[in-house]
């Protein structure tokens, strides 16, 4: 808060050690804050500084309620009765807008989309900044000493529906990586599968759903990489080979549970973190996806609040090395240390559950 009050235009989290992981935030004239630039730890960049512009924010898609026109004529996007629901993600694109299907920044309003800086904490192990985009949409950013990835703890909900519209919320990361329409998603944590925006490997795609048609399951991570010529870099076989990764920068965004994700514009990554819908999608479940704290959509209790973590890692896109760092992070975050707690004992009292000090010294193996 001291820094926030001091009116500094730029705040830096991290940089514990020279060349260490660091995140720059910038404050607008309105005092609202946005992430600006991410620096990879030197270990990930064979010593040379590796940085990327990074604008991270929370955004939402308004859910389609199904076309009600008498007839669709030759409009291929018209589907009477097809609402966005449990089985179907169908955002409502605003026809005639500059970017008809772009998500809306939460909390943008008149202020241009920054977030309120709720809290800034600096300690010996981690620097943290809590950003609030709306009372129901908050993010806590953590940069910790000797860590290789930015930790993004997001908390979303209850999603407001008093305007009668369902909403589907994403965390979006916009960078200056020249990804040339390509990205990659994991195949259940094993290999990475190349994706090309608005395209399919085995047929010529007629793009009728520019957003949902480019969404893929992300169970561990989604990666972007600078492409050498900015063109399509994925190898024909669908795998992402070292050459395809372009030798520039690679950004990997890691999830703590399966989420839908995509790269809808060069250098951007988005992951869907929560949905709250008001219409059934006519695919058999026969109820809207409207989860509440008391587990019953019609009992008038608050909508569900969901929280989780993403990790954002920047490194050199040199194929094997980049994936080794991404895989090491994936393992650490998906299989963390399991903690169990013994019963408390008064300070100074004898040893409780667990090994006496001598036994614990001797052998920590099991």
């Amino acid at each position: 808060r001291r820094l926030a009050r001091a009116g500094e235009a730029h705040l830096t989290l991290g940089a514990f050690e020279p060349g260490g992981l660091a995140l720059a935030l910038k404050r607008g004239a309105d005092g609202r804050v946005r992430t600006a630039r991410l620096r990879a730890p030197a270990a990930h960049a064979s010593g040379r500084p590796l940085e990327a512009n990074l604008d991270m924010f929370i955004a939402l898609y308004r859910s389609h309620t199904g076309d009600t026109r008498a007839s669709c004529g030759d409009d291929e996007r018209c589907r009477p009765g097809q609402a966005s629901g449990a089985y179907i993600f169908r955002p409502n694109c605003t026809e005639g807008a500059a970017a008809p299907c772009a998500p809306e920044r939460v909390g943008a309003g008149a202020t241009g989309g920054g977030a309120r800086l709720v809290r800034l904490t600096r300690g010996a192990l981690c620097h943290e900044a809590k950003l609030s985009y709306a009372p129901w949409a908050n993010v806590t950013l953590s940069v910790c000493a000797r860590e290789s990835a930015l930790r993004v703890a997001w908390a979303v909900g209850p999603i407001p529906i008093d305007d009668g519209e369902g909403k589907e919320v994403v965390v979006r990361y916009e960078t200056d990586l020249r990804s040339g329409g390509t990205f990659a998603t994991d195949s259940n944590g094993r290999d990475m599968v190349a994706r090309v925006r608005d395209a399919r490997p085995t047929w010529r795609l007629n793009v009728t759903d520019p957003v949902s048609g480019n969404y893929y399951p992300v169970t561990a991570l989604l990666t972007l990489a600078d492409q050498p010529s900015g063109g399509v870099g994925a190898t024909a076989g669908g795998g992402v080979g070292a050459d395809a990764l372009g030798g520039g920068r690679q950004l990997s965004v890691h999830v703590d549970r399966a989420q839908g994700g995509s790269s809808l514009a060069d250098g951007t990554v988005e992951l869907m973190v929560h949905r709250r819908l008001l219409h059934d999608d006519n695919r058999g479940v026969a109820e809207p996806l409207n989860e509440t704290l008391c587990g019953c959509a019609t009992c008038g209790c608050a909508g569900l609040r969901v929280s989780g973590v993403h990790w954002v890692q920047l490194g050199e896109a040199d194929g094997a090395r980049a994936m080794r760092d991404a895989r090491a992070l994936m393992q650490r975050e998906l299989f963390p240390l399991e903690l169990r707690f013994g019963r408390p004992r008064r300070a100074g009292a004898g040893a409780g559950a667990g090994p006496s000090d001598e036994a614990a010294d001797a052998d920590t193996g099991a």
């Binding site: 449990a86 089985y87 809290r119 904490t121 300690g123 010996a124 192990l125 981690c126 943290e128 809590k130 908050n138 806590t140 953590s142 910790c144 000797r146 860590e147 703890a153 908390a155 479940v285 026969a286 109820e287 996806l289 989860e291 008391c294 587990g295 019953c296 959509a297 609040r305 929280s307 393992q331 650490r332 299989f335 963390p336 240390l337 399991e338 903690l339 169990r340 707690f341 013994g342 019963r343 408390p344 004992r345 008064r346 300070a347 009292a349 040893a351 409780g352 559950a353 667990g354 090994p355 000090d357 036994a359 614990a360 010294d361 920590t364 193996g365 099991a366």
Partner: protein, 216 residues
């Protein structure tokens, strides 16, 4: 004796494509979650016995486990980090106390030289940590998410390397918030205890920080 059989059964039921993808009706989803929760509770008992055995070894382990198998409270209990809640670190909230923490590494490689773990503690507490053998571990306190409705801080502890498929132990010393002492990283008696500036004192339980409605 506790076993993982129940969780195997409930996970098998939850392989239904609507369970895996979250597209079942609300009441069916509630049932999946209740079954998984009950299966995991039984696994907590199994993990607790395994840690007892690893900690105590030999005859004493069997005696300890046998005595505890007869429905006594778990000697090793988990925390709910996503709710910023941890019964064991919140017990005896008005006293200085020590909680022994077991850290198990589920990977087949050592856990790297150090790793940060996050542990909920009552807001405003002074916290320090010592590894087995008495070496002091780095600790920092950060605020928990207020929206979760909890009155907790999160203790970040840098834990030393844990062997592959192995466990190690450390002690967490927690002192209740001092009534008047100013914030800062050194506690009044100079020990290397981390404490947040906010002086959220008092007994977290007394203020009903953890009311949890059991919905059947």
């Amino acid at each position: 004796a506790p076993s993982s059989a129940r969780l195997w059964l409930e996970l098998s039921v939850a392989q239904h494509h609507d369970a895996v993808s979250g597209t079942a009706r609300q009441h069916v989803t509630n049932d999946y979650q209740q079954r998984l929760s009950e299966g995991m509770a039984e696994c907590d008992a199994l993990v607790s016995r395994a840690l007892d055995a690893a900690a105590a070894r030999g005859a004493r382990a069997r005696a300890t486990s046998a005595r505890r198998a007869r429905g006594e409270e778990l000697s090793w209990a988990p925390c709910a980090l996503n709710e910023s809640r941890c019964e064991r670190t919140f017990e005896m909230a008005n006293e200085s106390r020590v909680v022994r923490v077991a850290a198990y590494n589920p990977l087949a490689q050592p856990s790297g030289e150090e790793q940060l773990v996050r542990i909920p503690v009552p807001a405003g507490s002074a916290v320090s940590a010592t590894a087995a053998g008495g070496a002091s571990l780095d600790v920092q306190l950060v605020r928990a998410e207020e929206e979760a409705g909890s009155n907790a801080d999160i203790a970040l502890v840098r834990v030393r390397a844990v062997p592959a498929l192995g466990a190690s132990w450390f002690d967490l010393s927690i002192r209740p918030p001092a009534r008047s002492s100013p914030g800062g990283t050194k506690s009044p008696d100079g020990t290397n205890a981390a404490r947040t500036p906010s002086g959220g004192g008092g007994d977290a339980h007394a203020r009903g920080a953890y009311t949890r409605a059991r919905a059947r």
